[in-house]
Symmetry: C2
């Protein structure tokens, strides 16, 4: 039946979004540029990645959104729910675990 676990590496886009939205509400287009800035260009995620993740997080109750008209354009602002906060903590833990795992491996013969 092959019920796959989520690929162990994934969820970084999701992690970054939740992290930023935990600090302040933002809208999609803003998040696209924020991620680039905040990671000092190390990570650049296009709109085709951001919007689908945003929508799925809202669907599962991790985010809530609010439309605001600014000038003539509409912006959709997102904020974390309590569930989103829990999700963020889980993803942070996951990340630290695998980051630590890779670091240990890389330390193998290196410098030291």
């Amino acid at each position: 039946m092959a019920q796959s676990n989520p690929p162990f590496m994934s969820g970084v886009p999701e992690l970054l979004l939740l992290q930023l939205l935990n600090e302040q509400e933002m809208y999609g287009y803003e998040l696209v540029r924020s991620i680039k800035t905040v990671t000092r260009d190390a990570i650049s995620l296009g709109e085709g990645v951001i919007y689908p993740v945003l929508h799925s997080l809202e669907r599962n109750g991790s985010l809530k959104s609010k439309r605001k008209a600014v000038g003539g354009r509409t912006r959709v602002y997102y904020t974390l729910t309590r569930k989103g906060g829990a999700r963020l903590e889980k993803l942070q833990d996951d990340w630290r675990r695998i980051q630590g795992g890779v670091a240990t491996a890389l330390a193998g013969s290196a410098n030291a």
Copy 2:
């Protein structure tokens, strides 16, 4: 035409394999268990991940293999080529970049 870049997070299995093989020659089954050990259980990759990566690395000239009969079983030992060494360095850099990127983002409002 959508000529995709490899997903920015990927290549961690490849990185771990190359790293371990850079330290000493190993065979597939051994690598499966080594990765689990060396990452202190943070990362566990099955044979279905390891063998295909091994084969594709050999195909593109990053690894070379040598069969050895041990008892009645055959082991296929892999070692890095020069090209594999270069590939390892590239993946290490990639990893450090994205790791740094995520770290910067996570540092945002945290503890400090």
